[in-house]
């Protein structure tokens, strides 16, 4: 296909050509960034979390006096274990993704160099089984360690052992075995006895990028700090088990304020706004692509209408249907190419702005490439109708006076 006549013709219709290029460029810039943000949203909604999410229920207990709490925990857990279908039950202080955040800074040396900000989880006896942690190395806490664990006046565990996340093990001791290593927080020190698969932070968006998978686990004897019960059952039994446990607690602790949820619901509530954002962006992208396509259809139709006579003349002097069709397709391809080139520049600029002012990552090249491809295809699809109509112009038009 000869390109020169197309360029010459575009030069004569500079403004409509510029408008199409501009529209494609803007669409490309918005599309790249919006799709990328949708992808980021989906990635965070689907964040892996190495606990038994499907089988877990969580009951938050409030209003129990500190002096009564230890006895209440022992009593309540005994009641839970008698419910049919309960595989494990334990008291813990916090669970991932429930907005209740307790962070501490930990490092591999006493100097605080290279410290990380981790979510602190205190587990009551059997907490690892109730949450369904996945042990990768080492061991869990022994009953003695559970019975000896307490929270000191400074809010730190008085125990001497800690279990950490896989990510932290790699971050703190790269290339080494974390087992048996010393974990510091200021002057306090714990020995790492186990490494578990990555458990999410209590509030990943609060903890930031590195804090998302940074969790430390300490043993704790029955204590008022352990304000949540975690029950584990098969997913099929979960709702019944939760309802029975709530009833049992209602009679055992009449003065307590109770709130029970299936863990999957808590997770879904945590990510509700991220999911909403993803939907909104998807909707905007769809509307924008439709508008862009319709705009190309409209302008090309006008163009075809304007050039009916020229098309007729070309047909009369021997151009085939296919040649006319290809003329318009090539023309659109040239315009789209100019549009996406400008669009890529705009997209990168917009992304840099977003990175600077909001929590958005850098745009990977693959998004630019796929947006470019998408707009090329969109342009070709949009131009097909008007181009076919152009190709259908009969040669006799050339002989008619307008």
């Amino acid at each position: 296909m000869e390109i020169r006549p197309i360029v010459a013709s575009l030069k004569k219709h500079r403004i409509p050509a510029v408008l199409i290029v501009l529209e494609i460029a803007l669409a490309c810039a918005v599309l790249c960034n919006a799709v990328f943000m949708v992808h980021q949203c989906i990635a965070s909604v689907n964040s892996s979390n190495a606990i038994d999410e499907a089988g877990m229920s969580v009951i938050t207990v409030g209003g129990i006096d500190a002096s009564q709490a230890p006895a209440a925990i022992v009593r309540d857990l005994a009641a839970f274990h008698s419910i049919a279908g309960v595989k494990a039950a334990a008291a813990v202080d916090r669970v991932p993704l429930d907005h209740d955040v307790w962070l501490g800074s930990y490092s591999a040396t006493p100097t605080e160099a290279g410290w990380i900000n981790s979510s602190i989880y205190f587990l009551g006896d059997g907490g690892e089984r109730a949450m369904g942690l996945r042990l990768l190395q080492g061991r869990y806490f022994t009953p003695e360690e559970y019975a000896g664990g307490a929270v000191g006046a400074d809010g730190k565990s008085t125990s001497h052992v800690v279990i950490i996340n896989e990510s932290d093990a790699k971050r703190l001791w790269p290339g080494q075995n974390a087992l048996g290593k010393q974990l510091y927080s200021d002057e306090t020190v714990w020995t790492v006895i186990g490494v578990v698969a990555d458990v999410l932070a209590q509030a990943p968006d609060f903890s930031g990028g590195t804090g998302k998978y940074s969790s430390v686990f300490f043993p704790l004897r029955p204590d008022v700090e352990l304000g949540r019960y975690v029950l584990r059952s098969s997913p099929a039994d979960r709702d019944r088990v939760l309802a029975q446990a709530m009833r049992a607690l209602g009679t055992l602790e009449p003065g307590a304020v109770l709130e029970g949820h299936a863990y999957v619901d808590m997770r879904s509530a945590y990510f509700a706004d991220v999911r909403g954002m993803a939907w909104m962006l998807t909707l905007v992208c769809a509307v924008m692509l439709a508008v862009t396509a319709l705009g190309i259809v409209g302008l090309t139709s006008f163009w075809v209408g304007q050039r009916r006579r020229q098309i007729g003349i070309r047909r009369a002097v021997g151009a085939t249907h296919a040649q006319i069709l290809r003329y318009f397709q090539t023309e659109n391809f040239l315009l789209s190419t100019a549009g996406v080139l400008l669009g890529v520049v705009l997209a990168v600029a917009a992304n840099l702005y977003l990175v600077r002012h909001y929590e958005v990552g850098h745009l990977p090249w693959s998004y630019l490439a796929s947006s470019v491809l998408a707009l090329w295809v969109l342009g070709q699809v949009a131009v097909l109708g008007p181009a076919l109509r152009a190709a259908a112009v009969p040669p006799v038009v050339a002989t008619r006076s307008v």
Binding site: A27, D273, M280, L281, M288, V291, G295, F302
Partner: protein, 441 residues
């Protein structure tokens, strides 16, 4: 003449219904998308107390010194809440028209009827001036008095919702309510009061929350009965003693503070007072650094606390991007439409119409497209605002609503933006050479 142009425009638009529909749809969708996101943005960046926001100030005192700085995102500002020592000192000095320290509490309230479960409620421990300062609306009774604060009286102000739950909505002033196992006398019942953002304590609520405050009790009373803080606590160093008492002795920040200052002169005097206070602390050896205080009015404070969620801002940017695409598109279509009528323009010019008449005619046409697009956009905005709770967090989505202001804005944005898009096409149309068009081709 206008009537004639409108008639011409409608005839012309009818001649190519497809193109016209396309333009109207484009304008409609673009305007609707940006208006829906704008309505959410407006709701969250709105002024919760417009009649008074210029008189409300939040003081910040540098009580941490260099220890509190150097972290990620540090901009040299002092901590955004107060420790107990400084909050109490400021309350004692009582330099503003109204002032109140406050902290968040979540006591359990036990209904008087036997057999009913206790309920957890959210609330704030405040000083008496909190109520006149925030213009909290009372249904029954009023706030408590300064002497109640001094005597640490067991009095409470409860929400209409809690009043409904406990007393069936009757006037409960003088009745007794059991809060955390102790009896409090109700002195006031608030009308529905859910300012968004929750301006008096953004550091704990993040600004937006669906949970309303159900109970207010005197600050010093709450301290006396050890009703612990349920809001955020932020420490630069580990408290020397544990528990709530240890927190009160520490430099940890957990108290919000607000003052009312009626004029710029008062604000200036208060800022001087804060600096004087900090210097005094420096002299006494408690602070080893020079004063670094802030006194922001409510607007500046909400801004500094980033109360508008970044998601909302990003959505607005994306929607503006969409509107731009739609405008460029409309400009292209209008150009196509106008230039197709070169003949008609030529004839009009030849029989004496000046360029300005051509301008008027085509801008009227663009305006009509914009207006129709705006009407469609209005419908879509209405649908969008109802649907927004489906995609946005409830506490935010509930705030978006369609009102006359948004209605007018939608129409104005549609018409003005379409006419802007029509300027170049109109300019091209007015440049048509009559002689060329009149020649037979």
């Amino acid at each position: 003449m206008l009537g004639y142009y409108i008639d011409l425009a409608i005839r012309s638009l009818k001649r190519s219904p497809g193109l016209t529909l396309l333009m109207i749809l484009t304008v409609g969708f673009g305007v609707a998308a940006s208006m829906v996101t704008y309505s959410v943005f407006r709701a969250v960046s709105g002024d919760p107390i417009p009649w008074k926001s210029a008189q409300l100030y939040v003081p910040q005192i540098e009580m941490w010194g260099p220890k509190g700085h150097g972290g990620p995102g540090d901009n040299g500002d002092p901590p955004d809440a107060m420790d107990y020592t400084d909050a109490i000192a400021l309350m004692r000095d009582h330099r503003a028209r109204y002032q109140s320290a406050m902290y968040m509490i979540t006591p359990s309230v036990v209904p008087a009827e036997a057999g009913k479960h206790p309920i957890n409620v959210e609330g704030h421990a405040v000083f008496n001036e909190f109520f006149p300062m925030t213009d909290a609306p009372f249904k029954y009774g009023s706030g408590w008095s300064a002497s109640d604060d001094d005597q640490r009286a067991a009095v409470a102000v409860i929400s209409e919702k809690l009043n409904q739950k406990l007393f069936g909505g009757a006037n409960s002033v003088g009745k007794v309510v059991d809060i955390d196992g102790k009896d409090y006398r109700v002195v006031g019942v608030l009308n529905k009061w859910e300012p968004q953002p929750r301006f008096y304590d953004v550091s704990n609520t993040g600004g937006f929350t669906t949970n309303a405050d159900d109970v207010f009790i005197p600050f010093m009373r709450a301290i006396d009965v050890d009703m612990s803080n349920d809001g955020n606590t932020n420490c630069a160093e580990t408290p020397a003693q544990s528990g709530f008492k240890g927190l009160q002795l520490s430099s940890c920040i957990w108290i919000s503070y607000m003052v009312q200052l009626d004029s710029a002169a008062q604000a200036k005097a208060y800022k001087d007072y804060l600096d004087g206070y900090a210097r005094e602390q420096q002299r006494s050896g408690r602070f080893s650094w020079p004063p670094n205080n802030r006194l922001r009015d409510l607007h500046a404070w909400l801004d500094a606390e980033h109360v508008v969620p970044s998601d909302t801002e990003v959505s607005l940017l994306v929607a503006i991007g969409l509107l731009l695409v739609c405008l460029v598109n409309t400009a292209g279509l209008l150009l196509a439409k106008f230039l197709r009528r070169s003949n008609e323009i030529g004839v009009r010019r030849a029989i004496g119409a000046p360029r300005s008449a051509i301008y008027a005619q085509f801008l009227v046409e663009a305006g009509i497209v914009g207006l129709s697009g705006g009407v469609l956009g209005l419908l879509l905005t209405g649908v969008g605002i109802h649907g927004v709770s489906w995609v946005l967090p409830k506490d935010i989505a509930n705030l978006a609503h369609l009102d006359v202001q948004l209605l007018l804005l939608t129409l104005i944005v549609a018409v003005v933006s379409t006419m802007l898009a029509g300027i170049y096409p109109t300019y091209r149309a007015s440049r048509v050479q009559p002689a060329w068009q009149l020649k037979s081709n």
